[in-house]
């Protein structure tokens, strides 16, 4: 289904996505899914990999963006390239394993061999090709555009008008906030990924990532069983936590506003651990930023955000959403390791496992609710989903950022309003 050609039906996204309600077909219609892959994932910027996943020459990871399998690899000159995972000869898949290290890439079919910069450097019996055959024309195909911010590598397969910085907009501040928890300003995504099969549309996962409304209900069993997951425990209607719509579809739940309001306690974002138990990390932060600024960072903690369309900076985890079909997705999760913070990293790893993934105390239940929602919206009536909580009550800052209460659906509307613009514009251009 994902590889089917775009069905040339004109879909009225301005009708389907309204300010306070959404049409159920947005989650179920295969034609809409196919258009999303083309418009959002291929023509837009999508996260593909982090710099730290491929630190050495020849390191590669294979990732799917939209319907496309891509190889992100580090070449001889230490630069990262992203190529289509397809032999230019007869089309075989080049890399089967999700990650690895290779000095060069050899196709399993006819042993055409490529250098790490994509050049075709050898093939058996080259002389049998016609005189106009040139190896220079048969290298690996790189993606149209690749750029990175803070080590996060994004690709754009069909060039659009935006630079990565323009696409990210205010989201760079969220990435900066995460990197700013590291004494060196660098993070390492080296723990590998949990891969979680979700039986729901990718947009439901996006919406749920920044939903401040569901936690007491969906995660009630965890709240009853284990009270150390602070950000869950504090999700009450009276919480000072805000949700924010940054524009361009980027949104977050600003727990820092809650942590600041609660006074000067450090580490509420990692279970309220006493600073004395993380001496290496605390000292490194003090040395790097000075005691006062380090203290502010350790109070405010990491962002809880969703960057359009496929990556969530989920506190001390990174989550990536891979759409598979209208009713299926894979969610990838890895803990965020901070360079120079081994004591905190050990804790972050164990907390990631506790909360996230298919056996996690939180996300297994989110997956279940996603599946129930997917089953629900397959029913034709009622046609519309209600998404109006807090509508019209948002505070709009001079820079355009919208603020609302923790449980308001402002974050979901932030995603959807950008979705509507992008999808509606594609109908006007293509048809």
């Amino acid at each position: 289904m994902a590889t089917a050609p775009v069905i040339p039906a004109r879909i009225d996204y301005r009708h389907l996505v309204q300010d306070g309600r959404l049409h159920g077909s947005l989650y179920t219609d295969p034609a809409i899914f196919a258009q999303e892959m083309e418009t959002i994932f291929h023509r837009g910027w999508s996260f593909v990999a982090h710099d730290s996943e491929i630190p050495n020459r020849g390191d590669f990871v294979v990732r799917r963006v939209g319907t496309q399998s891509l190889i992100a690899l580090r070449g001889k000159d230490a630069e990262v390239s992203v190529f289509y995972n397809r032999c230019p000869h007869r089309g075989a898949t080049l890399c089967q394993t999700p990650s690895g290290n290779r000095p060069r890439i050899t196709c399993p079919y006819h042993a055409w061999t490529f250098a790490l910069d994509g050049r075709l450097i050898g093939l058996p019996d080259e002389g049998a090709y016609p005189p106009d055959f040139s190896k220079a024309d048969a290298g690996l195909t790189p993606v149209a555009r690749m750029d990175s911010y803070g080590g996060f590598i994004f690709v754009n397969l069909v060039p659009n008008q935006l630079t990565l910085r323009e696409h990210l907009g205010h989201a760079t501040e969220l990435i900066d906030a995460l990197l700013g928890l590291s004494p060196t300003g660098r993070i390492q995504l080296t723990a590998g990924w949990m891969k979680h099969k979700m039986r729901s549309n990718w947009k439901m996962i996006v919406e749920n990532q920044v939903d401040g409304y569901h936690a007491p209900m969906v995660h009630g069993s965890l709240i009853a069983a284990n009270r150390t997951f602070a950000t869950v425990r504090d999700r009450k209607p009276t919480s000072p936590t805000r949700v924010r719509d940054f524009g361009m579809g980027h949104t977050d739940i600003d727990h820092a506003s809650d942590y600041r309001a609660a006074g000067d306690r450090l580490f509420r974002w990692t279970g309220g651990i006493e600073p004395e138990r993380l001496p290496v990390y605390v000292k490194a932060m003090n040395d790097a930023y000075g005691p006062e600024d380090a203290r502010r960072r350790l109070i405010e903690g990491p962002p809880h955000s969703m960057l359009f369309p496929n990556i969530s900076l989920a506190e001390m985890n990174i989550m990536v959403i891979e759409p598979i079909g209208p009713d299926a997705s894979i969610q990838y999760t890895t803990p965020v390791f901070l360079e120079g913070a081994d004591d905190l990293n050990a804790r972050t790893l164990r907390r990631c496992e506790g909360a996230m993934g298919p056996a996690g105390f939180l996300i297994a239940d989110d997956a279940e609710i996603g599946e129930l929602t997917q089953m629900g919206v397959a029913n034709l009536e009622p046609e519309w989903i209600i998404l109006s909580r807090g509508l019209g009550k948002e505070e709009v800052l001079p820079n355009g950022v919208k603020l609302a209460g923790l449980m308001d659906e402002t974050s979901q509307r932030g995603f959807w309003s950008h979705y509507r613009e992008v999808m509606a514009a594609s109908q006007e251009i293509v048809h």
């Binding site: 990924w193 979680h196 969906v218 069983a225 506790g354 279940e368």
Partner: protein, 167 residues
């Protein structure tokens, strides 16, 4: 690697029938969601319940699906016992087969490896799970307590669905 447990000599002083019966008993408690009874099979402290994301993974540096110490395991059971852990409400219908049991002596107790195949039925979906389990058992009052259990799913490197039941 889980296989290294079996590099020691076969356990001549262990009754293989007793070990088998223990594994079958544990399997039934898991299949029937007898959470507290299952938890009681574990040693009181210093335990590990581990489901890696990769065969041969280093759990101090790589993320696992489950890496429970005693306290984390207790939380897992408490959460299931609330009855509103949505991913297990309704509970999966489960039955598992255990086979290819190999037993060896170990300094810390009795090392057992076995294969399992588990059929999960939940709503309209039937899922087959399979893998290799490495138990480290401690003798206790004529039976055993579990000190360590490592479950390496055959598809641990692929995307898996919810694993909220006891594997």
């Amino acid at each position: 690697m889980t296989a290294t447990l079996l590099d020691t000599a076969p356990a001549v002083d262990v009754d293989p029938k007793a070990v088998e019966q223990f594994l079958y008993h544990e399997a039934r408690l898991q299949d029937e969601h007898r959470y507290d009874d299952w938890e009681a099979l574990w040693a009181a402290e210093d335990i590990l319940y581990w489901v890696p994301t990769r065969e041969g993974a280093d759990p101090t540096r790589e993320v696992s699906y489950i890496y429970d110490n005693r306290s984390r395991l207790a939380s897992r059971i408490r959460q299931l016992n609330t009855g509103v852990r949505h991913s297990q409400a309704p509970q999966s219908r489960l039955r598992r087969l255990i086979s290819n049991i190999e037993i060896s002596a170990s300094d810390g107790g009795v090392a057992v490896e076995s294969n399992f195949m588990l059929v999960e039925s939940r709503r309209a979906l039937m899922t087959i799970w399979a893998g290799r389990t490495a138990h480290l058992l401690q003798r206790s009052n004529g039976s055993f307590k579990i000190k360590r259990k490592v479950v390496t799913l055959v598809n641990c490197e692929e995307a898996i669905g919810n694993l909220a039941f006891l594997v």
